[in-house]
Amino acid sequence: MEQLPKWADLIVVPIVGLILAFGLSMLMVLATGHDPMEALTLMISGALGSTYGWGYTLYYATNFIFTGLAVAVAFHASLFNIGGEGQAALGGLGVALVCLFIDWPHWSIALIAATLSAGLFGALWALIPAYLQAKRGSHIVITTIMFNFIAASLLNYVLVNQLRPKGAMDPATAKFPEATHLPSLGEILNSVGIPFAKGTPANVTLLVALLACVLVYFLIWRTRFGYQLRAFGKSQPAAVYAGISPVKITIVTMMISGALAGLMAINNVMGEAERLILGSVEGAGFIGIAVALMGRSHPLGILFSALLFGALYQGGAELGLWTSIPRELVIVIQALVILFTGALDNMVRLMVAKVLIRPKRAEA
């Protein structure tokens, strides 16, 4: 197979994959007796047509930036962290403990503490699979899957038996104190005179997510650890030859990855729900896989694909609200994006190569 130019591989291939995914999904919409154009317009206007829509789109995007970065960092070290779901759930626990049991004078200090705690809990939850991979050679994909389920059971136990307020029925913590309330995007923008819908969940965590993108970029491409991580990801024997410790890289990379997934909790638990409920991650850990694949594991790409998926989720919710098309359509689109950009990427590449390379030959 001919090699594609780098720009085509990085940009054209994911976009073609995305178009294929959308095309097929819309065919399914058609097959279930709906109008694809109507669905598409509704999704776009629902997600991006108002500041209210944006308020939700950006909220979802914030989640996906964190989980997407988590998957991407591990990808660079050739590790497939499929445990973002569990790490984010544990991050939620970290946030809840910090918010519930400590009195904070101001939200900004609470945010810093919650960020550290969420990251730490997420990192620790990734530590055991990482250690087992590094020291015992246990396949990290399987162990992180197992840890997702163990996390679900653990949270179930903690919420039902420990953190649930007396007399409450649902498995959730009490509402966090007022002092930990994070300013929403609407509050911030309105205070400087920009009109933005109030009551939408996007909040100051978005800025933390953007900061995380920048930091991850520097980590991967500009620091010595990033250099070693990428070298390890490309060739383990070479890494050992160079004196890079596989154990250290595996463990530290997975902990960074787990911490990033855990950080998602400051958005959904602290910023939105303001209490920890069961199943708060809602699959965002898995969407991180799609986001990282689509974004080609680059922070900038992840930023765009997180926005795309954020819009998709908000649009899908609108769809479910106003039509009989369920929001699960989004899951189908997400599945197809993962399929075309992560598993059938060689097929897409072949298609792109046929279009790009053939005509060049004809000219020559």
Partner: protein, 321 residues
Amino acid sequence: MDYLTILQILDSALRLATPLLFACLAGLFSERAGIFDIGLEGKMLIAAFFAAATAYSTGSVWLGMLAGIAGSLVLSAIHGLASITFRGNQLISGVAINFLASGLTVLIGLSWFKLGGQTPALQGGARFQSINLPFAESLSVVPVIGPLYSEVLSGHTFLVYVALLCVPLTWYVLYRTRFGLRLRAVGENPAAVDTAGISVVALRYAAVAICGVLCGLAGAYLATGLGASFVKEMTAGRGYIALAALIFAKWRPWYALYATFLFGLLEAISNRYPSLDLGFATLPSQFMQALPYILTVVILAGFVGKATPPRAGGQPYVKER
């Protein structure tokens, strides 16, 4: 705990183990041929849906079963295309397939039945009926063994017995036939198979197809044997438990039976006793639910016997230069 309770728990364990066993053997065929499959969950789910939907529409559980298998096979074909033909990442393909099933079942289910993603309840010929084994009545009076036969072994639906039969059958196919030899070889060293003049691609597609059929049976059993309709996300992680059982069983058929039965038993116990009092400590039900996963991690860590997966597992076959 009296003897009857134990028997009831065992009976329920066998029923709960059945879908796990089908899925575990499905994974065994696929992974023994070198194709990792974390999409067992999705294939079971889509099979459960099409089995229930077809059984409801036609009134025939048999047509339902076939439809379930067909649905599962379509996803298998996608997995084969991605991991065999286009040499993509098998793990990512599996993840995609799980989401695809999760989304499609609701999308189609809502469009067909307008019941929030469920199918209507199945009745009569649209469900598998329990089969009483010969002499179950008369033998039940024999002490100890009699009730074991009539309460635990007898009175299950057709597919439970099929699943149990699949164990020796899988063993025989794997270790006593030409196909089995080649299948095991292609999961260990595809180049050896290729240079021996056998098609690696055909063998791997065959394995993936068998995996599809078995996942289809697992799903059909869930919706038409164990349950009586399709419910959104009804597999509830069973595909992953089956995957865990496969590792637990070290990719061997008889061990697959033991592992899935053990996991079925754990589920049966936690269903019956939400919190299990052991005298010195009380185990919360959540612990019981997590136990299969914890056990698998322990096995994977190699502290209790090393689980070595097939050597060529997960890697697409490319002829070396």
